[in-house]
Amino acid sequence: MANRVELAVGMAREAGIEPARAVGRARVVLQVLGRFATRQPLGAIGGVIVLALIATAILAPQLAPHGAKDAAFVQYLPPSAEFPMGTDQIGRDVLSRVIWGARLSLYVGLVSVAFGVTLGALWGIITAYFGGVADGASQRVVDVLMALPPVILALSLMAVLGQSVNNVIMALAILLTPTAARTMRSVALSIKESPYVEAARAAGCSHWRVIFRHVLPNSVATYIVLFTVNIAYAIVVEAALSFLGLGAPPDEASWGGMLTAGTQAMETAPWMIFFPGLAISLTVFGLNLLGDAIRDLTDPHLRGGLG
């Protein structure tokens, strides 16, 4: 997309690199990242944390010393060299479960947000563009969904759907759709009024051509921010559902589920709460920092020109 390349080119120029003479795209990317880190140090920290999360999730089979469900050890062992995060109430290695839990959290977070935010965004953009009765009716639907407290809505959905990881993803996606729809709708409304869209319509472009070539590309920045921020939200809601016993089944390695088991042994084995809790907090912290930095970067002055 046009303005993205412009952005990269602009940054490269500012960094003093002639794009035509770039030794390799990799060098450009690294220096872009370097710029990013200097401009948004907090965002860089967030980025590192998120990268660590992604690496842990992808490399879980190699990193985790034991299986997530192997109850082969002595129960309630405190952290030691052999079990850096101790063992839980039936003798599973907490470190392994935290590592596998990263995979579950990331999987649930990414997939539910991908579905929920994307669906919501498309819904919001399309109904905003066409306006009229369709827009009005769908916004009333969004109103109803947004009026329900999110965790309550998620709990009811899980009670109906039944406990499984895929149902958690479905419930979270349903949760995320309305807000995404509303946010992207307002973005689409403002783009709809802009001069280049008017010009395109005047030149005879069909509605769908305008949507795909003008509205969607200009909503991408907001979409990216929405996406990043909602991953953190989805991870927290999944943890809350599992904590309440209505998320992933109890033997899955879910950070929230580990917290439930930990509350039953707070005095005997506080490490069972500490480490999954730390994992959740760190993940959300990192994602929020990164999301804030991306939002700052995609400031209006960069989003404007299409040329």
Partner: protein, 532 residues
């Protein structure tokens, strides 16, 4: 003068000493107060004859009376409740119960033998599903007849030693004929009209069950308490928190505390409570449905039986408070139980488990080379979910991959009763009496009330029936030994993991509360009082 003063002093001292000793020996019961207790789940349906969970029996214990019951002052003895006396015919096949006069139902209607006949006609009806009372009585009782309005006779099919303890059980309570006629069944709170020391006052689902004192109870002067409140507390952390905060007076129900929890409680309440360990005549079972794949295949059932590490389950989930492997516990039934030395050498139980696990893997691979996926049910009460996860972890080693499906307590029992499951990862069954035949009548015979896996082995039915009828103790013992060996070496639907024990406590202000061999027979609270 000094002599008489000295004498007076001596008399005073002796008198004081004697009265102090007397006071300690014979503390007078104090009237008043509400006993606070808890129940581990919402009972749901309140019909004492059709339901089987402890939560139901607990909710109704003080409301109803039986013909006989376990003496609240000494629960090892059976004494009359609604029957003031009873006689056994010389051939042991007829029991005559002479009923008390002047007993009234909680709604004021008079009690008579017609109510007893209506009760047992209901329970013994072949089409009526009564997993507790019915399971025990149906094999033994031929008919129930009314003599005059104050006499009832039971005709047995054969002289049956366990009959008296079965009739005395908390599950074989007498209900009102006019209430059965009015409501059809007893599932609703409004139908809870009994003759017991307490009236059913209130049932707020998910919250509390309340009893109030029956002022017209047929034993004058009882009960001492004004009422009993059972808070519905689901989940051990909530129960433990209530105990630590002093919001309940006793813990003498299921699930028992584990050692770490008992220690936490002692730390919180110190000298105010008495903490003790006890067995609860309850067996921890794993069920497989014998009419659905994969467990309709006996090889798969044998594989599960071999692979389950009973010792690990008892060590981790009961914190060692239990007797692994046994089908009958020597602590509860004496020498009717197979000696533990023999039991612990049997396949499935023997350690180390390498040979058994290898054999189990081979059995699974023979039919499912890539392993098999199974849906595993568990009720989310007590420590069941932890047990379930450990069971599934053990079965993963032999290629059986279980996905856990959790149920709320009453919903789970409904599912089990209907047979809508493939595998139940854990379910405790508490015995109704201390008779060795109980576990077979409740779980292992074809007609057993908790034979949810629909297992049918004619040899088990035959041995159980012969043992029930056998009057000679030594021969009866041999029959029960043969029965245990047959089940432990076979492929039953229900795998015995072990007998459950645990820790309990009593608030020291509670007086005259005695525990019984089973968990069902000490919760009427009719002779219990609270000191200030």
């Amino acid at each position: 003068m000094r002599k008489s003063l000295a004498l007076a002093l001596i008399f005073a001292l002796v008198g004081f000493g004697l009265s102090a000793a007397g006071a300690a020996a014979q503390e007078k019961p104090r009237y008043g107060g509400i006993l606070n207790w808890y129940v581990y789940a919402d009972p749901g349906r309140l019909d004492i004859h059709t339901e089987s969970p402890l939560s139901v029996q607990q909710a109704l214990a003080g409301i109803y009376s039986g013909l006989l019951h376990y003496d609240p002052d000494d629960p090892s003895k059976i004494i009359g409740d609604l029957a003031e006396r009873w006689t056994e015919s010389p051939d042991g096949k007829t029991y005559t119960f002479h009923l008390r006069r002047g007993v009234k139902w909680h709604d004021g209607q008079p009690f008579s033998a017609a109510d007893v006949k209506a009760t047992f006609d209901r329970v013994l009806n072949p089409d009526f599903k009564s997993p507790r009372c019915g399971s025990m009585l149906k094999p033994m009782v031929a008919s129930v007849e009314m003599g005059d309005p104050h006499t009832v006779q039971f005709q047995l099919k054969f002289p049956a030693a366990p009959f008296v303890s079965a009739i005395a059980s908390a599950w074989c309570r007498v209900v009102a004929k006019h209430i059965l006629e009015k409501y059809g069944d007893l599932t609703k709170p409004e139908a809870q009209i009994g003759t017991g020391p307490f009236k059913f006052k209130r049932y707020e689902r998910g919250s509390v069950i309340e009893w109030e004192k029956n002022k017209d109870y047929f034993i004058p002067g009882l009960p001492y308490l004004d009422g009993v409140k059972q808070f519905i507390l689901v989940g051990v952390p909530t129960q433990l928190a209530a105990a630590k905060a002093g919001r309940v007076h006793i813990w003498d129900t299921w699930p028992p505390m584990k050692k770490t929890q008992a220690d936490e409680l002692k730390g919180a309440r110190g000298g105010e409570v008495e903490v003790y360990q006890a067995p609860i005549n309850t067996i921890f079972l794993i069920y497989m449905h014998t009419q659905k794949p994969p467990f309709n295949n006996p090889d798969l059932r044998r594989a599960v039986k071999l692979a389950i590490d009973r010792q690990e389950l008892v060590a981790k989930t009961l914190e060692g408070a239990g007797v692994p492997c046994a089908l009958l516990d020597p602590k509860l039934v004496g020498d009717f139980a197979l000696p533990l030395a023999e039991v612990n050498k049997l396949p499935g139980c023997r350690e180390p488990k390498d040979q058994d696990i290898a054999e189990a893997k081979r059995l699974v691979e023979k039919h499912y080379p890539n392993g098999v996926d199974v849906e595993a049910a568990v009720r989310s009460v007590g420590g069941y979910v932890d047990r379930a996860q450990l069971v599934l972890s053990q079965l993963r080693k032999i290629g059986i991959r279980g996905t856990l499906k959790t149920y709320e307590s009453a919903a789970g029992f409904a599912v089990y009763g209907k047979g809508d499951f493939t595998f139940i990862t854990t379910q405790d069954r508490a015995m109704v009496t201390a008779d060795p035949g109980d576990v077979f009548a409740l779980v292992y015979t074809t007609q057993a009330g908790s034979n949810w896996g629909k297992w049918s082995d004619p040899k088990v039915d035959e041995l159980a029936e012969r043992a029930l009828k056998e009057p000679n103790r030594e021969k009866r013992k041999q029959l029960y030994h043969e029965l245990q060996r047959h089940i432990l070496t076979g492929t039953p639907s229900a795998v015995p993991v072990g007998w459950v024990e645990g820790w309990f406590f009593q608030d020291k202000r509670l007086r005259n509360y005695k525990t019984s061999p089973t968990i069902y027979d000490h919760s009427t609270f009719m002779k219990v009082w609270l000191a200030p």
